[in-house]
């Protein structure tokens, strides 16, 4: 039959297909064995567009730099050198944007998520991830509500608001006592949303019992066009210490206006101050930034790894901001958990995070120990702008400078 060689019987078709399948199957075997080294997907979630885009972009930079370093150093060894595969997400500066991104990452099959940045975004994204038992490491989000809701999947490596505020007050007393209690009066300038108002309320409640008199508390909106009236008030009240609780732009405007109006209190002391411990501010306005103290996230200035990272970030033309090193550290924390879990299984990673005792990182923290998802070792630092640089002045074991207080007029 002339058509025979062109005709394919059903049986013949099946056998050939089976043979091909078997052949390809056997070819596929090595890759099945190599599956131990299959990349682990890690969600990297930040607000890289919208109002928080600067912070979000910085956070993403820190996380991706950590991932690159881990991969370059041979990946996760207990998983046969598995590489970490970053799944980037944009929270668009809103909780809804963050939640949508968590859903997407979950269906992408990520093993864990790092990021969130803002407290309101973190509150939403951790909860969304909890529904899938998806481990989530909060990079910044200082609101204490994030780790007090009993979510088993949520971990925060850095300190929360309560710890930061308490440290800030204790250290203010310490610095003032060391200088012979020269400061007695305080004036608080704060922006009028949750962050500034909440902090002002807490300071008003706590400062009197620490021996400080709060002369006046002034609030202003964000953005605020002009700080001259506020500075006039500061001048008239003449407080020993000015405590600003503002976001970056307003903080800078306030400090610049104070310099213009020759208002120099004994100290400008802030808690999570928007610009107070920012290299950008120090570089752009060294005179206005001079001497400002802050209690904020900071890296360990004695860590060679931290200094090497700082150099690398600056070589990219970026400032070494807290978003960078916090995210860098959070990815390191996850990599350590993956190493110990020896699995990309979500439950195993969660268990490994919960029992983490990670050390050798770049943060000035005590031993890593998670209680209800909060790292009990986490602590803020007190910094001061000195010689066009930012020095750590407290806690003493991490300090690379001494507090200059009172400031010279």
């Amino acid at each position: 039959m002339s058509t025979c060689k062109f005709q394919l019987s059903r049986r013949r078709f099946l056998t050939t297909t089976a043979a091909i399948a078997a052949a390809s199957g056997s070819l596929a075997m090595p890759s099945v064995l190599r599956a131990a080294g299959a990349p682990v997907k890690l969600g990297v979630l930040h607000p890289v567009s919208g109002a928080l885009s600067y912070s979000g972009t910085q956070g993403r930079l820190g996380a991706t730099m950590a991932i690159e370093e881990i991969n370059a150093a041979g990946g996760i060894k207990s998983l046969g050198g598995a590489k970490i595969d970053a799944v980037l997400g944009d929270a668009r500066s809103t909780p809804e944007g963050g939640t949508a991104e968590v859903e997407k990452m979950n269906s992408d099959g990520v093993a864990c998520i790092v990021g969130g940045y803002a407290s309101n975004i973190c509150l939403a994204t951790t909860q969304a991830a909890a529904r899938y038992d998806l481990p989530y490491v909060v990079d910044v989000g200082v609101a204490d509500g994030i780790v007090t809701r009993g979510l088993k999947n949520t971990f925060r490596f850095g300190p929360g608001f309560g710890v930061i505020a308490k440290t800030a007050l204790d250290n203010l007393v310490k610095i003032n006592d060391a200088a012979g209690k020269v400061a007695k009066t305080v004036m608080i300038v704060h922006e009028d949303s949750l962050f500034g108002s909440g902090l002002a309320k807490l300071l008003n409640a706590q400062l009197p019992s620490k021996g400080f008199q709060v002369l006046e508390t002034v609030s202003h909106p964000t953005p605020n066009r002009d700080f001259n009236t506020i500075v006039l008030k500061i001048k008239a009240q003449n407080p020993d210490i000015v405590i600003p609780a503002d976001y970056y732009n307003e903080y800078v405007l306030l400090a610049r206006t104070m310099l213009q109006q020759h208002v120099r209190p004994k100290a400008i002391y802030s808690v999570l101050g928007g610009a107070a411990s920012s290299y950008k501010f120090v570089k752009e306005f060294p005179d206005a930034a001079k001497g400002i103290m802050d209690c904020n996230h900071w890296f360990n200035p004695h860590s060679d790894k931290a200094l090497a990272l700082k150099k690398k970030v600056e070589a990219k033309g970026q400032f070494f901001t807290y978003e960078v090193y916090l995210n860098y550290s959070c990815v390191g924390l996850v990599a350590d958990a993956l190493e110990r879990a020896a699995s990309a299984d979500r439950a195993k990673i969660t268990a490994a995070l919960a029992s983490s005792t990670w050390s050798g990182h770049i943060m000035p923290y005590g031993p890593t120990k998670f209680v209800n998802g909060q790292n009990e070792g986490a602590a803020p630092c007190n910094t001061q702008v000195q010689d066009n640089d930012i020095k750590v002045i407290l806690p003493a074991e991490f300090a690379n400078g001494k507090a200059i207080f009172p400031m010279k007029a």
Binding site: T57, L215, V218, H220, P223, T229, Y248
Partner: protein, 301 residues
């Protein structure tokens, strides 16, 4: 000691040592508001539209001033480059975009300016991200000691420059043919057209002048303020209030209105705090609409 001593803080606020500097500060801030309002009122007076792109153009001009400084051009020198450049931008916008898109209906023009605002703001956001940029000019922190208060040099320069611009504008409007044509079109569009005035050209010149005002305001703001893609909006809402207070379309109204609003804002933020400082402005806004809808210097409609 649990509460701040209230009487002391009230005494502080009422002392002349703080009220006089606050008023002075209000006048200095108000002058820049006035310049932004001047551009807005000019466009309204002639084209009878509210230019919603005003804030976005101010932001764009602030970016221009910022980048001019990166090339070593001082913001005050940049005035002489950016004012003509933004005049051209404004002229082209009206002549090539707003005018043709309006099809002779004023309401369309309003929507077109709104569209332009959206495009400019988002283009800036796309190109320069939401980062805040500042420049550090050597004189930014210089201030003159008046005995009772310090006044920052850039703010004094701004104050003087605003009056110089207002004077130049007044000279243009009073003595040049273009100025006369603008006034003719503002008064009676059809009549002016019949008399041989090119209305489309006059519209575009007016829009250009308004945009040039914004460019100058931007150069005066940049030494002490910051630039980001939404920076201009903070000034434009106030400018709208000033235009209503001074009288829609009135140049002296915008000038006086700007100074009044500046002082009101300064004093109300002194007495009620900055969070409520805006309340004073908008109380005036409502009061003007109720009592004298045509504004201080506005012609009765």
């Amino acid at each position: 000691m649990c509460h701040p001593p209230l009487p002391a803080s009230i005494l502080v606020v009422l002392s002349p040592a703080i009220i006089i500097p606050a008023i002075l500060n209000g006048l200095l801030t108000g002058a820049v508001y006035a310049l932004v309002a001047l551009g807005l009122t000019l466009v309204y007076g002639v084209l009878h539209i509210i230019n919603f792109a005003h804030g976005a153009l101010l932001t764009a001009a602030m970016f221009a001033a910022f980048f001019a400084y990166q090339f070593g051009i001082d913001p005050y020198v940049a005035i002489f480059l950016l004012a003509p450049a933004f005049f051209a931008v404004g002229y082209a916008l009206q002549r090539l975009v707003i005018g043709p898109a309006a099809h002779g209906d004023d309401r369309n023009m309003l929507l077109v300016t709104l569209g332009i605002a959206v495009i400019i703001e988002n283009a800036l956001l796309y190109a320069f991200r939401a980062d805040t940029r500042t420049i550090d000019v050597p004189y930014a922190f210089q201030s003159i000691d008046f005995g009772f208060t310090f006044v920052a040099v850039p703010r004094l320069v701004g104050f003087a420059a605003v009056f110089a611009v207002a004077l130049v504008l007044w000279l243009i409007m009073t003595f040049t043919d273009t100025g006369k044509a603008i006034r003719a079109v503002a008064k009676e569009k059809v009549g002016a057209e019949l008399a041989g005035i090119d209305v489309a050209h006059v519209y575009a010149v007016t829009f250009g002048l308004g945009t040039a005002c914004v460019a100058i305001a931007a150069c005066l703001l940049v030494p002490t303020y910051y630039v980001n893609p939404s920076a201009g909006n903070a000034f434009v809402l106030v400018a709208f209030t000033i235009v209503v207070l001074g009288g829609m379309g009135s140049v002296p109204g915008a000038l006086i209105g700007g100074l009044v609003i500046g002082v009101v804002e300064s004093l109300s933020s002194l007495f009620f705090g900055d969070s409520l400082g805006q309340v004073g402005i908008f109380l005036i806004f409502i009061a003007v609409l109720l009592v004298r809808p045509s504004g201080l210097f506005g012609a009765r409609a």
